[in-house]
């Protein structure tokens, strides 16, 4: 800058024109070596609160001190490279890890004021309350009707056939499948297309009246049209349920979720508003992963 310009700057500063509020160091990216969680871990009135969750598979320490609140009626996406612990963490939320030999979960996961890892908690009603949709559609080898009716029947949610019919119809409607299957409810569920099978599994999940739905890569075996229908469904279901979705598709995470959590080698690296994560992540590892510079 030449002398004339310098004098002008002084003159302007003297006249009281305010400087920009921004300084570049305000938004410095967190270094790769820093593994403390960045972002909004806590929410008001959480549906589930996870504190210092650690998971060991034998000697392997798979998840390290994860703290995360899951809000009511939100879709939270969990992303990260393979082996980062996102599916393991998801399975902690309804104690699915209990079925894995050598798996030890420590820390606290509170739902409705109760510790779900407590020995006095019965996992059967817990898994109805926090139910799961898996990567590959897995309908029972039964009729479409029986696939949906099975859960309510074993949980004793219907007193008679009329009530059970109502649950089946409502669940299929909520899963966006009713119009496609209403005339063939007695046909096998395995005879449906992949996308329809996955929606049948969602209807089966809804039928037992869950509060939280866990989805572990629910669209990875589906074509783009079936994926779009599931994503549309997720958006509708959000008004009634809390949804945690694990996905390898970052575009899907960006499309369906309100909050996103990024896991890396067992650490929860960053969690925050999805739009912010996908436009201006604070942690270098998050940025490296979502921009395709890592893994």
């Amino acid at each position: 800058m030449d002398t004339i310009e310098k004098s002008k700057v002084d003159e302007i500063e003297d006249t009281g024109v305010k400087e920009p509020v921004f300084m570049p160091e305000d938004s410095a990216t967190i270094d790769r070596e820093n593994r403390a969680t960045v972002g909004e871990v806590f929410v008001d009135n959480p549906r589930m609160s996870c504190r210092d969750v650690n998971v060991h598979y034998g000697e392997n320490h798979a998840i390290h001190d994860v703290n995360l609140d899951i809000g009511c009626n939100e879709v939270i996406a969990m992303i990260g490279p393979s082996g980062c612990g996102k599916s393991t963490f998801l399975r902690c939320l309804n104690r699915m890890n209990d079925t894995i030999e050598g798996c030890k979960v420590s820390g606290s996961i509170i739902m409705d004021g109760e510790e779900i890892n407590s020995k006095k908690i019965d996992v059967v009603p817990l898994r109805a309350q926090v139910s799961m949709v898996f990567q590959k559609p897995n309908p029972f080898p039964k009729s479409i009707y029986e696939n949906v009716a099975f859960g309510p029947r074993i949980h004793g949610l219907a007193n008679n056939k009329v009530e059970l019919d109502e649950i089946v119809v409502t669940s299929l409607e909520k899963a966006g499948l009713w119009n496609e299957v209403k005339d063939r409810l007695d046909k096998p569920g395995t005879g449906l297309s992949g996308g329809q099978q996955q929606r049948l599994c969602i209807a089966r999940t809804i039928a037992v009246g869950p509060e939280v739905i866990l989805m572990d890569e629910p669209c990875s075996a589906l074509d783009p049209i079936a994926t779009a229908r599931i994503e549309d469904l997720i958006d509708e279901l959000r008004t009634q349920f809390t949804i945690c979705i694990v996905t390898h598709s970052m575009q899907q995470a960006a499309r369906v979720s309100q909050r996103t959590a990024y896991f890396h080698l067992g650490d929860l690296i960053e969690v925050g508003d999805t739009t912010k994560i996908f436009t201006n992540p604070k942690h270098q590892l998050t940025e490296d992963y979502i921009t395709g510079r890592f893994g």
């Binding site: 002008k8 024109v17 305010k18 920009p20 509020v21 921004f22 570049p24 305000d26 938004s27 201006n280």
Partner: protein
Amino acid sequence: MQQPTEGHTVIRYDGELNRLHLMMLEMGSLVLDQVHTSLKALKTEDLVATRLVLDREHKVDELEIRADDEIVSLIARRGPVARDLRVIMAFSKSITDLERIGDEAARIARIIEEMYETERSHPSGQLMRDVHSMGTLVTNMLRRALGIIDGLDADDAVEMAREQGILDAEFRSSMRRLTTFVLEDARNVGHAIYITLIIKALERIGDHSRNLAEYVVYLMSGEDIRHSLNTPDPTDSPYYNDGPDSQGKQM
């Protein structure tokens, strides 16, 4: 330090972003030369130079279209997020501003042609003084902005954005002096109108140059600093009229 356009697992993606960056720099150097040539034409009364500026205007437009095609293609194929998304957004906006700088340079060339073709006498050195000083200021601003884009230098970009008042102050004082010349001698009015139009075009170029710096801040940090300065007090304007007898606060 790694460039923000580099480091992707898909190396071709790096190449595509770097190509866009180079395209923008090429466009930047062309519009800088357009501005420089227009101002030189004004100083030396060189109508060949103004013709060169007008002939090259379509090249700026072509570069804009090529860069826009590249941006649409990148968005469609790569689905950019985070810094990549900011790079593409910032480059896209920069290209629009560069094209407008090119338009202003061409506007100045047309005004010069008209001025020297229609006016019998040439403008006095006193009248031209402000055009030359503002031209130097604006050319320096544009050159600095292009350096910032080239090196993606966020610190200098913030510094440049902070200096918003320099251009405004220069524009205001130029307008005050021009008004005084016209009031002193009404025969100056013809030239004064042309010079006012040129000064206004230069002021626009300076504004677009500052925008370029602001986009680099957004690209590097994700912070949108546009309009982060307080809106200037309207009574500071030389055109502010607070009553029927007033000739403007500053005049």
